[in-house]
């Protein structure tokens, strides 16, 4: 049996691809076909395929955003044959809850992440600053400006600026949560005309202008990672998985100088960290469900974590899915960021993401099908604002009208 696996081209997935020979050795009757694509392309490809029932893939790599929407459409196969020793209860509750609909698991988390601050201990020391474990935006902004040394290409803070609901909007939505803002009110009215959003955006733009790297409006996760690894960022707020890259001496020039802290807040009770997981799921139309489940079971199991640890070291284990990992002393030793990662993940609450009540779930996204389009379009305007093409007010106004338009068209606003 041949199963086709569509997956995203990040390090953990590529590692899985390499290690998959262990799986095929154990299951000689199964061969694996890999389709590795960049995240945006992948999302577009598999969404098209599953929505049209194209049936090109047996295993999909999808995010927490898709799982509830797709399972509601009955596009995903329930994962009920993961095997007896697949310890479902070991999955981190906040992650698992996002993948479970009406008590049925529709996707298995491969790795999970939240976001946190990564910073340069050496630079903070030199500047006489001290990073608290749970800083506020006021502290972060102030420190970023102080640490900026443009002549030497050191920028106080690197944040996402590239447009996209999974790029700058992931960060900005989470940040907005900490400022008390939200996407919609209970009537699905967009909220970009609120003061909370205005404060969010002006803080972000001001900070990036004073302390951000050039070209920030096209920086996403990868670009910022490269910047941080080459020593050009004093702080970086991004996915917790980045911690293992920035602390890996093979890739990072600053591996031994990185410190970690929780994403900042403004004292309103929500921190600006998100929650995300890449999960493996099976299209309902797949005729190779059993083989596919066998693979998923293997790839998201505790044993897989051990396998990675054995082959590549504990630092490279896909994080953020299992409690047992965080209890593992070896892992905690190899991954100094483990603690903060776990704390960050636990701090995120997709069911109640905002200060004010909202009709939607999802921390840095809104789990409705229209969100991708709206999120990306709004992301475009904020990115344009970052590039200096419009002011914060114009951007917010335009975001408000885009969102209102689309929500009206989709029938949420009567």
């Amino acid at each position: 049996e041949t199963i086709s696996i569509a997956t995203v081209n990040n390090g953990d997935m590529i590692r899985m691809q390499k290690l998959a020979e262990h799986f095929t050795k154990a299951h000689p009757d199964i061969t694996l076909n890999w389709v590795t694509l960049e995240e945006n392309v992948l999302r577009q490809r598999i969404t098209t395929d599953i929505a049209t029932k194209g049936g090109q893939y047996d295993i999909l790599t999808i995010g927490t955003y898709e799982v509830p929407i797709w399972s509601k459409q009955k596009w995903l196969m329930p994962l009920d044959k993961l095997g007896s020793n697949y310890d479902v209860d070991d999955l981190l509750p906040s992650i698992r809850s996002g993948l479970t609909i009406d008590g049925t698991l529709f996707a298995a988390p491969f790795y999970g992440e939240s976001s946190m601050i990564m910073y340069r201990k050496d630079l903070f020391e030199k500047a006489g600053l001290n990073m608290p474990e749970a800083p506020t935006w006021a502290f972060v902004s102030d420190a970023a400006r102080k640490l900026t040394d443009k002549k030497n290409e050191v920028y106080g803070i690197c944040l996402r600026g590239k447009a996209g609901w999974g790029e700058n909007m992931a960060f900005l939505s989470a940040m907005a949560n900490s400022f008390g803002a939200s996407w919609f009110d209970m009537q699905w009215k967009p909220q970009f005309n609120t003061d909370a959003w205005k404060k969010t955006l002006t803080t972000y733009l001001g900070l990036m202008k004073d302390a951000g790297p050039p070209g920030a409006s096209s920086n996403g996760f990868n670009e910022n990672l490269a910047l941080f690894q080459t020593g050009k960022c004093a702080m970086w707020i991004d996915a917790t998985v980045a911690a293992s890259f920035v602390s890996n001496p093979a890739q990072s020039k600053v591996a031994d100088k990185v410190g970690y802290a929780l994403a900042p807040d403004t004292g309103l009770g929500k921190r600006s960290n998100w929650l995300w997981a890449w999960n493996l799921a099976i299209p309902a139309s797949s005729k190779k469900g059993d083989a596919a489940q066998a693979f998923i079971s293997w790839a998201t199991s505790k044993d897989y974590l051990d396998l990675v640890a054995k082959e590549e070291g504990w630092a490279n284990v896909p994080p953020g899915t299992r409690s047992s990992l965080y209890a593992n002393a070896e892992y905690r030793k190899a991954a100094p960021f483990a603690d903060l990662t776990l704390k960050s993940i636990q701090a995120a609450d997709p069911q109640h993401p905002t200060v004010q009540p909202v009709p939607y779930t999802g921390v840095q996204f809104v789990a409705i099908p229209e969100f991708q389009g709206i999120g990306t379009a709004v992301g475009q305007t904020f990115s344009a604002a970052l590039a200096g093409q419009m002011t914060a007010d114009q951007a917010l106004q335009s975001a408000q009208s885009i969102a209102t338009r689309e929500m009206t068209k989709a029938g949420y606003i009567k």
Binding site: Q44, T47, A51, K162, A163, P213, G215, A216, S218, T376
Partner: protein
């Protein structure tokens, strides 16, 4: 060549190409047209319903639409102007005798063979990146502030990339045309007292008119649907600074999975493309004497 026999044969031999292209054009187009009147979001199957021209209303009143229209024209026009003027310059240069002409010619045509995706990736990451790109390194080496191409001049940067890809094509066609110029005609002009500049204006340029027409026609066809370069470098942004019609339709139907809206956009794009086509055929197709 015009016996009844050969005319019948002509009709038969045309048929496969015409039928296939008609099918290729009409079937999807008909489906697209139908979809464009539906509320049809891929992510919400079963909710399709007839909504008349609502999709068109939304698409055409989208502020991004006008931006996209402008960007499309700027992109097509900008690349055409740059490739044709650059192509003429290069063709004139490559027509001169110098050492290693064959090799330089190979160097000049090389970009044509590069996949659009690859060239966009290379330009974006390795050349234009304001921190680790080569241009930034050069700027820093010269003591200048690196320029953030894709943020500060996004459309121009894309025009630059696309120009780089299409310059070889324009150069090759213009060079072939230049080499077909009757040398006696140039000599006659020389005898008539025309200097190099006059010969260029009065003899060479008019001779190249037809080649320029062809370059315009072919490149327009491809430039109207420039997509990979935008997707890879800017995703249409910042804002809508680099969104062209093609990208807008893409965003609508494949990022938002709003097939209805995307189809309406597709139909609008088809209409626009046909306007361009008619315009092109009218204005310059005649020059081709086909």
């Amino acid at each position: 060549m015009a016996t009844a026999h050969s005319r019948t044969a002509a009709r038969l031999t045309m048929a496969p190409a015409v039928v296939l292209l008609l099918g290729w054009m009409l079937i999807p187009l008909a489906m697209t047209l139908y979809f464009s009147f539906l509320r049809f979001n891929l992510l919400m199957p079963g909710t399709e319903e007839w909504i008349g021209t609502l999709n068109y209303q939304y698409f055409l009143t989208d502020p991004a639409f006008f931006a996209a229209l402008g960007n499309t024209l700027a992109l097509v026009g900008g690349v055409l102007v740059l490739t044709i003027s650059g192509g003429i310059g290069l063709a004139l240069l490559l027509d001169q005798p110098f050492w290693g002409r064959g090799i330089v010619r190979l160097l000049v045509i090389a970009p044509f063979f590069v996949m659009p995706t690859v060239s966009a990736l290379v330009w974006k990451n390795m050349l234009m990146n304001p921190v680790s790109g080569l241009f930034a390194a050069i700027a820093k080496g010269l003591g200048l502030q690196p320029f953030d191409f894709l943020a500060e001049a996004p459309l121009s940067s894309i025009i630059l990339i696309v120009t780089w890809q299409w310059l070889p094509f324009a150069t090759l066609i213009l060079l072939t045309a230049l080499q077909s110029l009757d040398r006696e005609r140039l000599e006659a002009a020389e005898m008539d007292g025309a200097g190099a500049v006059d010969r260029f204006i009065h003899i060479i340029m008019p001779h190249l008119a037809r080649a320029m027409t062809v370059v315009t026609l072919i490149q327009t066809i491809f430039l109207l649907s420039v997509f990979a370069e935008i997707l890879v470098t800017t995703n249409g942004g910042p804002g809508t600074a680099t969104t062209n019609i093609t990208y807008l339709v893409y965003a609508q139907s494949l990022l938002q999975f709003d097939v209805g809206g995307g189809s309406a956009g597709g139909i609008v794009a088809v209409v626009l493309a046909n306007l361009v086509a008619v315009f092109l055929m009218r204005m310059i197709g005649r020059n081709l004497d086909i």
